[in-house]
């Protein structure tokens, strides 16, 4: 163990389960050394509803992960989901200050500050400010516009914000284990970072992380996140629909969904039956396969339609050349890929972790936690690099004169 290593915990407090991964981070290198998993309690649609129950479950998963890693976690990157998260787009533009029209860092800072400074309603807090590419006189600039020549500099930010109380509840669950939350990362961003390649993000790709309580989505365009969102509908709703439609208890409905649920109706024969337990014991019941498929397909179709509606004009098959990538526990539902392709009118496929991820972490249920680690570490590395760039003696002196 290196003395300069820090041990980072990636925690996803989901509606059905809580996943924790422990990464050993030394500089820009990251190694996953432990994991913990626990059935979730006290969380409804991605939001902490019962602090005590959610804390107990989360702390169990954390303890399990620490035991597995053999190290104590130093800090936590926490995934954030839930229906309270919303986003909006705001853009700003400035005239370039220099007489020779060369864009300086001051112009960039001003336009970024303006684009980020839209006031939020009371009780709302910013989770992410996602910058879209700069434009100089209407021309798209993929990187930094500094030292380019132009008259007008424009930039837009997709701001993700959530309810302060809900965010605090999430953080308090982790603080209850005496751990610091260093980064709060949107679940969709974390999962999207893991299941898409930079080329896909450049060409445009939509990532759907369909969990138990929520469906998080992120649309990438021009190499970066363009639009994000959360729909408070997930796999649990399919279970509930089955429970109501077939008059089943939750556990039984879940079992039927996992075994016979489909995102599209394939069974033509109405008389085709399936057994609940399959052991023909007392209490075992028969159900129509077609009825099960009709219920799950209707809800799945509706869910995907809701996402498409939320995306609105941001999504079009032309701007999403790399198609749709599905991840999350509910993405394992049979036939969902084909339905997604039909709804969005673009190719769809199941998200896969990169080849270097070990076999036991390749399940879609771990994509968010894995992405949390890698997204968090890369964000931290970028921040520290930026701090190093701006903390030099010359920059310090420059700032002194600028603010004088």
């Amino acid at each position: 163990m290196s003395s300069r290593s820090s041990f980072i915990g990636a925690v996803e407090i989901g509606t059905s389960k809580i996943s924790v991964l422990v990464g050993e981070c030394s500089g820009r290198e990251l190694a996953i050394i432990g994991r913990g998993e626990c059935a979730s309690r006290g969380v409804i649609k991605g939001v902490v509803a019962d602090n005590r129950a959610a804390s107990d479950a989360t702390h169990s998963a954390l303890e399990m992960a620490e035991r597995d890693a053999g190290e104590r976690i130093d800090l936590v990157f926490l995934a954030q989901s839930g229906g309270h998260l919303e986003g909006f787009y705001n853009e700003a533009s400035v005239n370039v200050k220099a007489s020779d029209n060369m864009i300086e860092s001051g112009d960039v800072r001003t336009v970024c500050d303006l684009a980020k400074s839209k006031e939020l309603p009371t009780g709302r807090m910013v989770v992410h400010n996602i910058r879209r590419p700069f434009r100089v006189d209407g021309r798209l600039v993929p990187g930094s516009p500094e030292n380019l020549v132009g008259q007008r500099l424009e930039v837009g930010y997709w701001t993700v914000h959530g309810q302060e109380q809900r965010l605090a509840d999430h953080i308090n669950v982790i603080r209850g284990f005496n751990l610091e939350v260093r980064e709060l990362v949107l679940s969709s961003l974390a999962a999207g970072h893991m299941v898409t390649s930079p080329e896909e993000r450049q060409h445009g790709v939509l990532v759907l992380d369909i969990g138990a309580g929520t469906t998080d989505f992120v649309l990438y365009r021009d190499g970066g996140p363009h639009t994000t969102g959360v729909v408070p509908v997930g796999g649990t709703h399919l279970t509930n629909d089955l429970g109501i439609g077939l008059r089943l208890q939750e556990g039984q409905a879940e079992k039927l969904k996992l075994r016979f649920g489909r995102a599209s109706v394939q069974t033509k024969d109405r008389a085709q039956k399936v057994w609940l337990d399959g052991n023909f014991a007392i209490g075992d019941r028969q159900f129509s396969q077609q009825a099960i498929e009709q219920i799950t397909a209707a809800r799945t179709w509706e869910l995907l339609e809701v996402v498409k509606k939320k995306l609105g004009g941001a999504f079009s098959p032309e701007t999403c050349a790399s198609g749709v990538v599905l991840t999350g526990g509910t993405a394992k539902l049979s036939g969902i890929v084909e339905v997604a392709a039909k709804v969005f009118g673009v190719p769809a496929h199941l998200g896969e972790a990169p080849t270097w991820v070990s076999e036991n972490l390749r399940d879609p249920g771990y994509h968010t936690a894995l992405g949390l680690l890698y997204y968090g570490v890369s964000v931290q590395a970028e921040k520290s690099a930026a701090n190093r760039r701006h903390s030099g003696f010359f920059n310090g002196m420059k700032r002194l004169f600028t603010h004088a």
């Binding site: 200050k97 400074s117 807090m125 302060e164 953080i171 751990l179």
Partner: protein, 327 residues
């Protein structure tokens, strides 16, 4: 323009949410982590504090009362101290033993290195001294020595005592130097005041040292004849008067180049060698002009002694232009 843009405060970020939490709001696992973190901090503080306290105790014991040193530390008796001196140094182990006066069977921890160093530096032949303990039983003494450039005779305790002087003006006994080497050094004709038990350091001796070094290097045959250097007019006129065994007095200017003056002196001395004279005075301090005054030999009259007036001691004088065409 950008200057006229309104300043809008940035929206509240999730990082402003307080992450402080009371222990009672923590779970059992959280409280255990808090407890172990506190325990670890206390442990580290105690260890560091203990180390600091121990170091302070030891240093205090050594400084205030060496008898408080633990018996175990005194158990190992020390070997004879080792001396390491400069390459041309002459001081030896016997001198070191005499100077340090260490008791037999003394242990390394009982020594007061500061006092030993002071004792070494009292011997003014020692320029710098460094005394180091090498555990478990060795004491290493590193010194640099002063080199003598001239001799000086002083009045001490009703008698006379000969000392040597280093180029920094410090007078010392010159222990261990070869007697023939000491005898070859010229004498300094200057008074040496006392400062307590030691003698005061001679000032402005750097010029004299430079003259002697130049003479040794470029005109050793002249240097060997030099008997006395008078520094009476060094401060006032920047002049050094050198009296040779062959009764020639040369006056050097401390401001000028010694090599040039030595070359002139060498030439004039060669010219004078063929002329018998009682005494000669060669003034090299005036630049190109070198006045040379010669007192011719007086024939010995056994019947009566003639005493000449002081003003006529050097009746013959001629300019260097008569003697030197080119220096």
């Amino acid at each position: 323009m950008n200057e006229n843009l309104p300043t809008i405060p940035p929206a509240q970020n999730w990082r402003t949410i307080s992450q402080s939490v009371k222990p009672r709001a923590m779970s059992r696992g959280g409280r255990w982590r808090l407890f172990t973190a506190g325990l670890r901090l206390t442990g580290v503080t105690l260890v560091l504090g203990g180390l600091g306290w121990g170091a302070w105790l030891v240093s205090a014991a050594l400084q205030e009362d060496p008898r408080r040193i633990p018996v175990a530390a005194k158990a190992v008796s020390m070997k004879a101290p080792e001396l390491e001196t400069t390459r041309d140094g002459v001081l030896d182990q016997a001198w070191l033993a005499r100077t340090l006066e260490l008791k037999s069977g003394v242990s390394l921890m009982e020594l007061d290195l500061g006092r030993l160093r002071e004792r070494l530096l009292l011997q003014r032949q020692v320029l710098t001294a460094d005394v180091t303990r090498i555990f478990p039983d060795r004491l290493k003494v590193r010194i640099t020595e002063r080199s003598p450039i001239a001799r000086i005779r002083i009045e001490a305790d009703g008698g006379q005592c000969d000392l040597v002087v280093a180029r920094d003006g410090v007078a010392f006994l010159g222990t261990g130097f070869d007697a023939a080497m000491l005898a070859s050094l010229p004498w300094l004709d200057v008074g040496l005041a006392r400062d307590g038990i030691a003698y005061r350091t001679l000032v402005d001796l750097e010029q004299v040292a430079r003259l002697l070094a130049d003479a040794q290097f470029s005109a050793p045959h002249l240097y060997q004849t030099w008997q006395t250097l008078t520094l009476v007019r060094l401060v006032s006129d920047d002049e050094i008067e050198v009296v040779s065994k062959n009764r020639t007095t040369a006056i050097f200017s401390a401001k000028g180049e010694y090599f040039v003056q030595l070359a002139k002196l060498d030439y004039i001395t060669d010219q004078l060698a063929s002329k018998p004279y009682a005494r000669a005075r060669i003034d090299l301090s005036l630049g190109r002009e070198v006045p040379v005054m010669i007192e011719p030999l007086v024939p010995v009259r056994p019947t009566r002694t003639v005493t000449k007036p002081a003003s006529n001691r050097f009746p013959t004088a001629f300019s260097v232009s008569q003697l030197i065409s080119k220096p």
